[in-house]
């Protein structure tokens, strides 16, 4: 595989992840507040069951890709650009580990369901994660335009 094709695959995957994060941000999380307490945990559990294949694996591959780009990238791309791209992904995962992950875990045990303060916190701050994933995709688009056009 050439370095250019590798960059293109990373770009497609980055925008795929941007699509899934927007679906979460606008389409899925915001509708949860309309679900009653009894149903809430069933809905949340059903949602998380679907995520490993369609969200976690692509995000994991994309993260590995962002690291691999340090060693395997077209010559026109500077290490500084790759570092910024990596930092945006890393920060997104770090904040997920510190905030959104634990909040989701607490939300899954909170009996107030859609009225939970953890859901309010998630809805109030999850746009940061959305922004970071989008920044990563846009940096890759910038890199690809630099190299391939």
């Amino acid at each position: 595989m050439t370095k250019e094709l590798f960059l293109l695959l990373n770009l497609a995957l980055a925008f795929y992840n941007a699509g899934t994060i927007w679906a979460h941000e606008i389409d899925i999380f915001r509708t949860w507040k309309f679900i009653d307490e009894k149903t809430f945990h069933i809905v949340q559990k059903a949602h998380w069951k679907k995520l490993p294949y369609w969200v976690f694996i692509p995000v994991g591959i994309s993260f590995i890709g962002s690291i691999a780009l340090f060693w395997y990238h077209p010559g026109q791309i500077s290490i500084a650009e790759i570092s910024i791209a990596f930092a945006s992904q890393f920060l997104s995962h770090l904040l997920t580990g510190i905030f959104w992950g634990p909040w989701q875990a607490k939300l899954s045990k909170d009996e107030s369901g859609g009225g939970s303060p953890y859901l309010k916190k998630i809805l109030k701050t999850h746009w940061i994660r959305t922004a970071l994933i989008n920044v990563y995709a846009l940096i890759l688009l910038y890199m690809a335009i630099q190299v391939l056009s």
Partner: protein, 179 residues
Amino acid sequence: MENHRIKKSLLLLNLGLSSISIGQIWLVQLSAYPLWAYVVAKEFHTYHLFWWHSIWMLIFIPAGAAIVTTIAMFWLRPPEILRSLIWIACTILFVTYSLTYFWWAPLMVLIGASPEEVNGILQGAPYVSNLGWNNETQQQLYNLLINSHWLMVALITAYGILIFYMSVLGLNVKKNISR
């Protein structure tokens, strides 16, 4: 910006937009729609209405931008990309959004509609009624949506794969062009 740079940048932008759509459509099909089945009846109307309004920005902005960039590629595309490929991409988009307008959108609205709203929706989408789907229960309409929506997933995915193929052709990524 030189002309060839604009053409290739447009192709890359289209690749980004088509990838966004793949991410969205798979998550909607596998997670958002199946969640409807768990929403209790008394909450469903509010839940569905909120969902319906929330997807407008999510779907129509990338979809609209993808349509514009694909049409623009008739005039602005790298020479390696045949015009016939753009026609195939346009056809996929045309079929996708025509079916959305005539079939999936009315079905989605019908599923969340109150009994008083049903007649108004069927007046705006008579083909749904003509096809005999006017007396179905909410559960039957939901099953019909979930099953038929796989076609949309396939169309959006096919479009994304086609744009990726065009990118591989048009950007010469198989040749190592690193300097």
